[in-house]
């Protein structure tokens, strides 16, 4: 039988296959799948541990889980005390729980601390063909390695801690073929590709499905760029994104702390090469093809990640966006009002107050390097406050080793400590009501970056150029 990459990972993780389950009272019920890798953080885990303790349950395999603190940590100097008492309690609770249950934690004092979806790959914890979960919707990021990776709620975090398994209804498969070539290499990024995909399929286009990205273009992307694409699969409604592993993936893994050693890895690579790809003629439940030949830098104008236009476009009217769907029209009217934008305004005329380069979507070394190309020798507009928040302590260190911090600081950017920061504003990094931000993060929902704040999603180079000019620009003109 022909199988998709997803089918293959699914099949190799079935503890109880619902189709062959003598216990099943429900023939269309969920299967029990094994979870190889579990990431936890301070926000969605405390209630899971509390429930475990209440019932007196153990963590089944503490050495399949790692923890970090990322969501509400301050990005100010690590030597400063934590001012927010409630955040502090949450951070301390995670440390205490990890100690009690024997789970390794990379907390604020650790040189390996960072956003869960940055440190997982960085440590070699993320491996092809595995199942990976985390109480965070952007777990889809790890799909870039050909792992089945998806976000779960706190009850499921507890379930994985206690059983190392999850009950799951098998999702459908969605193939996204990416054709063509990017014309301006540095100016058009994988962020533009994924924003364009979500613009086309909508925020629920992938609901109930696993999206596999394929095409010559994908093979040419670095792991960092692949992670950006898989990261935002959830914004298209898909719980997971997948890219079949190849030489780029294998090269990335070599020498990482928890990646298998050389001889073991070589053996595994042979196995992965023959097993981790969709069969030639397999049929997907849905297929879409995107051509990137003429792709322009993408920018969001509204309050969900499908409200996106080309940088050369103007703010659309509700009618243009809605295409005869009354509910969408109402949504667009509300979004325009919230964003304080008038239809017909060229996107390049929109001014910003803040620029944020960071988040699990775009905070890796390559993202920062690319952004630095744009700002080298230039100054941030005096009307803009701009910050760079590296995804992990290691990214920060590597960036400093090649002098990126100096480039950013000389230009007038704040160079901060690692964490989720202004992507969701659980720490003090937030927008003030009415402030407008060019952000490399993943969600432009109302209030996401701070109550009343207005978010425009863009790539790191677009955000960097915007910081210099004080308004959005077509970054293709800069390369």
């Amino acid at each position: 039988m022909q199988k998709t990459l997803f089918d293959k990972i699914w099949d190799s993780h079935l503890v109880i296959d619902n189709n062959h389950n003598e216990y099943a009272f429900d023939p269309s019920g969920p299967s029990l799948i094994y979870i190889d890798r579990h990431l936890i953080h301070e926000v969605t885990s405390p209630q899971a541990f509390a429930s475990l303790k209440q019932v007196g349950r153990k963590v089944r395999r503490p050495n399949l889980t790692i923890a970090t603190t990322d969501h509400n940590v301050s990005t100010e100097s690590r030597s400063l005390p934590i001012v927010d008492e409630v955040s502090k309690t949450q951070l301390e609770t995670l440390s205490r729980n990890c100690k009690e249950f024997g789970i390794t934690i990379y907390d604020m004092t650790s040189p390996d601390q960072g956003i869960v979806h940055v440190i997982g790959p960085e440590l070699g914890f993320t491996l092809p063909g595995t199942t990976i979960v985390c109480g965070d919707s952007h777990t889809s990021t790890h799909g870039a390695f050909g792992a089945l990776a998806f976000g779960i709620g706190t009850s499921e975090v507890e379930h994985v801690l206690a059983t190392q398994c999850l009950w799951m209804y098998k999702p459908k498969s969605f193939l996204i073929n990416i054709e063509g070539n990017l014309t301006k290499k540095h100016a058009i990024t994988s962020k533009d590709i994924i924003l364009n995909i979500i613009r086309k399929i909508g925020t629920d286009g992938g609901t109930g499905m696993i999206m596999e990205y394929r095409g010559d273009m994908i093979s040419e992307l670095s792991m960092e760029q692949r992670m950006t694409i898989c990261n935002m699969s959830i914004e298209g409604g898909a719980r997971a994104g997948l890219i079949a592993p190849d030489e780029t993936t294998f090269d990335y893994l070599r020498g990482r702390r928890y990646a298998p050693n050389e001889s073991e890895l070589d053996r595994l690579i042979e196995y992965w090469k023959s097993n981790l790809k969709s069969d030639e003629n397999v049929k997907f439940d849905r297929v879409e093809t995107i051509n990137v030949d003429k792709l322009a830098p993408q920018i969001s104008w509204g309050t969900n990640p499908s409200m996106v236009v080309d940088i050369t476009d103007s703010v659309p009217s509700p009618e243009q966006f809605a295409k005869n769907d009354e509910n969408k029209r109402k949504l667009a009217i509300r979004a325009l009002q919230y964003m304080d934008l008038k239809p017909g305004t060229p996107m390049t005329h929109v001014h910003v107050d803040r620029v944020f380069i960071g988040s699990c979507t775009n905070s890796r070394l390559e993202d920062l390097t690319e952004a630095s190309l744009v700002i080298r020798g230039k100054k941030v507009s005096p009307k803009v406050r701009a910050m760079v928040v590296p995804g992990s302590q290691k990214v920060k260190l590597q960036a400093e080793e090649i002098g990126l911090d100096k480039i950013f600081k000389d230009a007038g950017f704040e160079w901060r400590e690692s964490g989720c920061s202004m992507c969701l504003g659980m720490n003090p990094d937030i927008l003030l009501p009415g402030e407008r931000c060019a952000s490399t993060s993943n969600r432009n929902f109302e209030g996401r970056q701070g109550s009343g704040g207005r978010t425009h999603l863009v790539s790191p180079v677009m955000a960097a150029a915007c910081a210099i000019e004080g308004h959005f620009v077509d970054v293709r003109d800069w390369f």
Binding site: Y34, T44, S155, P433
Partner: protein, 204 residues
């Protein structure tokens, strides 16, 4: 988990699509370490202005919608962040059923862990219910056992997976249920040799 009981209530019409979990429970309320106490923060930025005063125009602030247990909304409810706090906030506020034309996957899944019933209906049926709330504001009787919404002399049938229905009706402890298959999990672990992350070995 408490078993799900039949619900008799009027509806709260939240006439919007794509309601994300950042709206259902904004991030500033995710710092608690308990599962309760979120009801007051439900839809916080929509319910209250910057000084914490109720915004009159928001549906939950209309006195006639107080104490209602059924939320009626549209496409893609619960999209975005995986925060289960969104379900806890709805439940804590008193909502027991959310009726929508579609749900985001993670939110939908999370509902069943708390005993909140998500009902998915066609867009036409949703439209009918919105009209009904506007015109005669009828009481709905929701029976999970029968999978029906009885309202204004009409009976609307809804689909739900059998396993999820059983979990809700019986208030089953899912972890306890899974652990009853411990032998299966052990067998899998023996056969697959999924290695600890710091001691990886090939899956045979």
């Amino acid at each position: 988990m408490e078993p799900f009981l039949d619900i008799e209530s009027r509806l709260i019409p939240l006439d919007m699509t794509n309601v994300d979990t950042d709206q259902i429970i904004p991030k500033q309320f995710l710092k608690l370490i308990q599962k309760t106490g979120y009801g007051g923060f439900l839809f916080y930025d929509w319910r209250f202005d910057n000084s914490g005063n109720p915004k009159k125009e928001f549906v939950l602030n209309e006195p006639k919608y107080n104490e209602r247990q059924i939320l009626l909304t549209r496409d893609n409810f619960g999209c975005g962040s995986s925060r289960e706090h969104a379900v806890w906030a709805l439940y804590d506020y008193g909502i027991r059923v959310v009726i929508a034309s579609s749900f985001a996957d993670i939110f939908y899944n999370n509902c069943f862990k708390k005993g909140l019933l998500p009902i998915c209906l066609s867009r036409d049926e949703i439209e009918y219910l919105f009209d009904l709330v506007k015109n005669d504001d009828a009481v709905a009787d929701i029976s999970l056992a029968k999978q029906t919404i009885s309202i204004s002399e009409k009976i609307i049938h809804f689909d739900i997976d059998l396993t999820r229905k059983k979990m809700l009706l019986e208030g089953i402890d899912e972890i306890g249920y899974t652990l009853s298959f411990d032998d299966k999990i052990l067998n899998y672990e023996k056969a697959s040799k999924i290695a600890d992350y710091d001691k990886f070995s090939v899956k045979n």
